[in-house]
Symmetry: C2
Subunit: 255 residues, 2 copies
């Protein structure tokens, strides 16, 4: 691992940095982005203008925002994900049935990326966002994915990202984590008991290619501890998820 990169292109890096700042702000003017990104206005302006011309940014009056052209990139990235088309509808059903938030996550660069996300009306508005990248050690889906990586891969991930403490319950010890991952491999079930956000719990199951055993992603349901507890946390939702992921796995092999 640990590939050495040639020095990246500064102008492109700043360009992307500016684009990301804009993305975080949602919609912003030149000065706003200049402040947030710590760069001179002239530079920001020039970059935004370039993006504008390339169609990656749109301008309304003097405010900029990310253009819909970015959907093309996303769509290209999604098309490589086998789980996506099959699981999309399952995620919706899960959200509807449970009344909570459901999602599907896959691994990228040692983190869990959420491909698709649905929440029932009454479900809490979490920080979940398409494409959001979360640590593998502190989410249900993350741990499910983690559990199915080789030891070398796990080493690399921990080397790169560490095991940052998000809440009091976050697992920050490697041995403790390994124990839990072993259990996840055995049971096919992964729990997040307020390990990333206080007051939030989650349950996840891996999705594998039935033939090769290759891990394709993880299915997850999450919600507030106040609603997710007792039998519901330990039995009901896990069973539901297990059925859902089995169904997905079958659909994947025959598609």
């Amino acid at each position: 691992m640990g590939d050495e990169h040639t020095t990246p292109m500064k102008s492109v890096v700043t360009a992307l940095d500016i684009l990301e700042t804009l993305q975080e702000q949602g919609t912003a003017g030149v000065s706003e982005i200049a402040d947030a990104s710590g760069r001179p206005k002239s530079t920001v302006h020039r970059h935004l203008d370039t993006f504008l011309e390339c169609g990656y940014v749109v301008k309304e009056d003097t405010e900029y925002c990310i253009a819909l052209k970015s959907l093309r990139l996303a769509s290209s990235a999604l098309s490589r994900q086998l789980v996506y088309p099959v699981t999309k509808s399952v995620v919706q059903e899960l959200a509807a049935e449970t009344g909570e938030s459901a999602a599907i996550a896959v691994e990228e660069n040692g983190r869990a990326v959420y491909l698709c996300y649905d929440r029932a009306n009454q479900a809490v508005r979490t920080d979940a966002r398409l494409g959001i990248q979360l640590c593998l050690h502190c989410t249900g889906a993350g741990k499910a994915i983690f559990a199915h990586m080789s030891e070398a891969e796990r080493d690399a991930v921990i080397e790169q990202h560490g095991l940052p403490k998000k809440t009091d319950r976050t697992i920050t010890d490697r041995d403790e984590l390994e124990d839990e991952l072993a259990e996840i491999r055995e049971t096919g079930l992964s729990f997040d008991d307020e390990e990333r956000v206080d007051g939030m719990r989650g349950i996840a199951t891996p999705i594998q290619n039935r033939e090769t055993g290759e891990l394709l992603g993880a299915l997850t349901v999450a919600g507030p501890t106040r609603r997710i507890n007792g039998e519901r946390f330990r039995t009901e939702l896990p069973d539901l998820l297990r059925r859902a992921s089995k169904m997905v796995e079958v659909n994947i092999t025959y598609s």
Copy 2:
């Protein structure tokens, strides 16, 4: 219109160009992209490496492809679109009910961009892709959007993109187009009768903000002429779409 831009940044433009070539190829190696984009391998390699480091591209062995991080951009762009959350489920229902392809489109830079797309199993695999940009004058959704623009805006669009002939039935005459747009405004219905692709028909309805009258997008169903004809083309599907878009409009005002 016709804003003058300052000279765009060359390195960023080439960077984006390379990214787009990669996006078109889906997955490709350095040489492949170098050939397709007509740039020296060293340049391409360097750019890809930069994107890799920024997380916008992933590398498997020696093949590159667009990373899921791009979902973040897309998600940011989508979040500005009021129609999206409300219409997503309606598009699915439409696809299921009709057995064809359904989609929602909005205007960006004088073209129709498809936000969301669903097709029934038996529906033909069209070239539809999230984020694809199509001309306004030759698609159902496009014309629906076109019809609700101001004359000045329409002028600007035609100035910029013209009225390129896609099939024998494409409307290429401004006056003829204006007549049709007037009819669309009256009836609230827009037809695409093999005007973009031979053998493909579509029907679309505008989606407006009930209070301000502002156009938010267009809902559309499309499929092969062999299946979409007679009453189904002229009455059944239009009625279905009209009901669907009314529902969407109501949901938007109360959300």
